[in-house]
């Protein structure tokens, strides 16, 4: 299996040529400690979670910060393996720790230790106030050949480059939509890949319209433009990768010009030789824990009020799970959540940053939508569910012949979404292809070994 999230969401990322898991980080010999109780528990140590922990601590609360990575920063700040660890004073940081289940009353069940280790340590923490900042992962769109080794999510390529200094390939094409493709190009250049191009499926006019609402203000964009220019990396719009080819692994791709709905413009197809492709079509919020905690999800994101409170008393949410908006917005929301959870008063400045961030997020979403035409790139035998190898035809049969009308019967008649990633990678695509809404209810939030379950001691 090749295609994987790179950040520990899809549980399917063994990479034979690289013999590493992008999401596994480094083996950590430090024995996990049994956590002590704190006023506030933050899950996720990306920009939102770190800001929440800092704000809560600054308001005098005792804080626990849980993250599956060994170091702070999340995917945004993914630190290289040799970066020094920087803690937050007064905050109990539980690295290498997953929350695999949550019971009523915000009772979190934790496992600490590298995901592959046989001796992870189980613990339970009751969170009187819980701040969820679980982030997002790359949205994948299936196309013929996307399941070939050498086809990566942009996030996985980025994680391997930044975290382990590993290049996914020598001749790499980057395709998808959104500004996140640019730092991926930079990261790949930094580890020695030749980036053949960045293909943005949307159109530059949308960019321009977005610019009025603040997109042009990202100083990083100018920096990335310079990186592209310096390395002579072409940036093409309204073009994308519609198929990957190769026997054992990807050796070439077909790119094509797209119309406004992302249908292929006939005659525009080009064959490009590559040894790796990175694709990223925006982000999917990591909602599992929020849903398991009972939070109301509306329009695909956790619903929060102006204090980042969810529908569940004592549970707050911040960052990408409340709307995809990038690191600045996530940090602003985290600060609000941490402050409110600790009983403090939110500064006008923080609220203003949240407001501004949300405007930006809206512009971003408008400028980089996923258009429905991608469905026309598929063939009947295009794999849709990478884990169970369910193809487009099988999905159609489940709906047409077996009359599947909800996600549960769709899964159990076609096996779509029943594999290792539990539909985290293909869920959106399946919902768009079938018109059957996706279910994001996964009470087992992260895989747990039976042996670990046996030994766990319910405190």
């Amino acid at each position: 299996m090749s295609f994987f999230c790179g950040i520990g969401v899809c549980h399917g990322c063994v990479q034979p040529p690289l013999t590493v898991r992008a999401c596994q980080h480094i083996p950590d010999a430090t024995p996990a400690a049994i956590p002590h109780a704190t006023d506030i528990v933050v899950v996720g140590a990306g920009p939102a979670g770190v800001a929440a922990a800092k704000a809560a601590a600054a308001h005098g609360a005792s804080v626990t910060l849980i993250d599956s990575a060994p170091l702070l920063g999340g995917q945004y700040g993914r630190q290289a393996v040799d970066s020094p660890y920087v803690g937050i004073p007064g905050v109990q940081h539980l690295p290498n720790t997953v929350v695999w289940a949550v019971e009523p009353g915000n009772r979190l069940h934790l496992l600490s230790g590298p995901l592959d280790a046989p001796n992870r340590v189980a613990s339970v923490i009751n969170a009187e106030n819980l701040i969820l900042a679980t982030g997002a992962y790359d949205r994948a769109i299936p196309f013929p050949g996307w399941d070939l080794p050498g086809v990566h999510t942009a996030g996985a390529a980025q994680a391997l480059a930044k975290g382990k200094r590993l290049a996914v390939g020598k001749r790499v094409l980057i395709a998808g939509t959104g500004p996140f493709l640019l730092p991926v190009a930079e990261s790949l250049v930094n580890v020695g890949s030749r980036v053949l191009g960045v293909l943005e499926a949307n159109s530059p006019t949308r960019w321009a319209r977005g610019a009025r609402t603040g997109l042009h203000k990202i100083p990083e964009l100018a920096k990335y433009a310079a990186v592209l220019a310096k390395n002579r990396i072409p940036y093409r719009t309204k073009r994308t990768v519609i198929a990957a080819h190769g026997a054992e692994r990807v050796t070439s791709v077909t790119t094509a010009k797209l119309d406004g709905d992302w249908r292929v413009i006939p005659g525009s197809e080009r064959r490009v030789e590559v040894d790796a492709v990175c694709v990223g079509f925006g982000f999917v919020p990591q909602l599992d824990l929020a849903v398991a905690s009972g939070c109301v999800v509306a329009n695909g994101f956790v619903r929060v009020d102006s204090g980042q409170r969810t529908s569940v008393a004592g549970v707050f949410a911040a960052g990408e799970i409340t709307g995809i908006g990038g690191a600045d917005l996530a940090a602003a929301e985290g600060e609000v959540a941490g402050t409110v959870a600790a009983g403090g008063t939110v500064s006008r400045e923080a609220l203003r940053r949240v407001h501004k961030g949300r405007m930006f997020a809206e512009a971003l979403a408008k400028a980089h939508p996923v258009r429905p035409g991608w469905r026309t790139w598929l063939t009947p035998d295009t794999i849709i569910c990478r884990c169970e190898r369910v193809d487009h035809e099988a999905l159609r049969e489940a709906v047409d012949l077996r009359g599947a009308t909800d996600s549960r019967t769709l899964k159990l008649t076609s096996r779509v979404g029943l594999g290792r990633c539990q539909g985290r990678m293909c869920g959106r695509a399946v919902a768009e292809l079938t018109g059957i809404p996706e279910s994001v209810r996964r009470p087992i939030v992260a895989p747990v070994r039976l042996g670990e379950l046996c030994e766990g001691n319910p405190a």
Partner: protein
């Protein structure tokens, strides 16, 4: 469509089996489900078609009839529908083991009684058991092999039955909630749904755990309660890690118990997809479906005790559901004497998949006045406890 003769309320495996058997006899039906067809209790089970866990008595008779009926029914449906009738039918056999000497004699006695009732129950040695299941614990005090036990994939089976119903010109409709029955002269005149009234001469209550609620709305209450169960699913494991349906002899006691408190017993089996399913738990907690780690933990401990190799297996997901529990542990199949035209087919608890084939057949026989293939008396609504 023209008005159906019969409205089947509930498109789970029992409703689907009733609808299939009725349409096979020329009765037109309308199958309704308040949610999506095959998405409730049916989608929460392991797909057991068992005789091994039933003591001699009417339920065993029904189970034996159903075990005979399933393969025939599936063959007929394959003939009629083609490949859509593929339901992962697997006559894999069951293996019941006693892991303590205390449990050995009751298991031997139970199997002997079953043999008297015609069940193929073979007492085997620990080494025979190890041969059947190489990864089974060596701590075996007694073991019984039940070659008749089988498994199928319940959602595939149900959607196949419903596909046959549709092919015969009857209709299946989801997202329609039945809320009551209209009477005329003391008999069923129509089914009331949330948005309309459907004239019909008969209604079949196949609402599973919700059939108590529907029966009260219909004015002819029956005592069916939800009994929660949870199944753990592993990531795919190497082929033949677990070959049979293997369970601890204390399972029979847990099934037969009426306790509201948590009852667990290790039930381990693989599926054609390579995953291993681990049950079973029984708990009467109403329709509360919240996560309970202590339940998972007990299941894990008992499963690993049976198959130590499973300690390293990863649990990818768990799913829970509600079984339709009848206090006397017998299904209710037949017409309600209090309201002619109202029929029940419910209360199968955890055995609905296995019992569905015979239940559908029996109900259709009674409905059309054919001679019933099993004695319907023990399943009557007005039976004496």
């Amino acid at each position: 469509m023209a008005h159906p003769d019969v409205v089947v309320v509930g498109a789970g495996v029992i409703g689907a089996a009733c609808a299939e058997a009725l349409t096979a006899r020329g009765v037109s039906v309308l199958v309704l489900d308040r949610g999506a067809p095959a998405s409730g209790t049916t989608a929460s089970g392991e797909g057991n078609v068992l005789v091994s866990d039933k003591e001699p008595g009417p339920e065993l008779v029904l189970a034996q009839a159903s075990r005979r009926r399933w393969p025939t029914l599936l063959a007929e449906l394959r003939e009629e529908l083609g490949p859509v009738a593929e339901v992962e039918w697997e006559p894999k056999g069951g293996l019941v083991v006693a892991t303590t000497s205390v449990a050995a004699q009751p298991l031997a006695d139970f199997a002997a009684a079953q043999r008297g009732a015609g069940v193929d129950a073979r007492a085997i040695t620990a080494s025979d058991a190890a041969h059947l299941e190489p990864h089974l614990t060596k701590e075996i005090a007694a073991a019984v092999h039940y070659p008749e036990d089988a498994q199928l994939q319940p959602v595939l089976a149900t959607t196949t039955l419903l596909a046959a119903v549709r092919k015969r010109g009857s209709e299946v409709r989801g997202a329609v909630e039945a809320v009551g029955i209209e009477r005329h002269g003391g008999s069923v005149k129509a089914l009331r749904t949330r948005h309309s009234t459907i004239p019909c001469s008969a209604v079949i209550n196949a609402c599973g755990p919700w059939s108590g609620t529907f029966s009260r709305a219909a004015g002819a209450p029956i005592d069916i309660q939800p009994r929660r169960g949870v199944v753990l699913v592993t990531a795919p494991l190497p082929t033949n890690t677990v070959r049979h349906k293997v369970y601890d002899a204390d399972y029979v006691g847990a099934v037969a118990s009426g306790e509201a408190d948590l009852q667990t017993s290790a039930v381990v089996e693989s599926t054609q997809a390579g995953t291993v399913l681990i049950g079973s738990s029984r708990q009467r907690v109403g329709f509360d479906d919240s996560m309970r780690v202590d339940v998972l933990r007990e299941l894990a401990r008992k499963a690993v005790r049976l198959f130590p190799i499973l300690a390293d297996a990863q649990i990818m997901r768990s799913y829970g559901g509600f079984r339709p529990y009848a206090p006397d542990h017998l299904p209710i199949i037949g017409e309600d004497h209090r309201l002619p035209g109202l029929w029940h087919a419910t209360g199968h608890e955890g055995a609905g998949i296995g019992l569905a084939a015979a239940t559908g057949q029996l109900l259709a026989e009674l409905f059309t006045g054919q001679a019933p293939h099993v004695d319907p008396e023990p399943f009557r609504v007005d039976r004496r406890p």
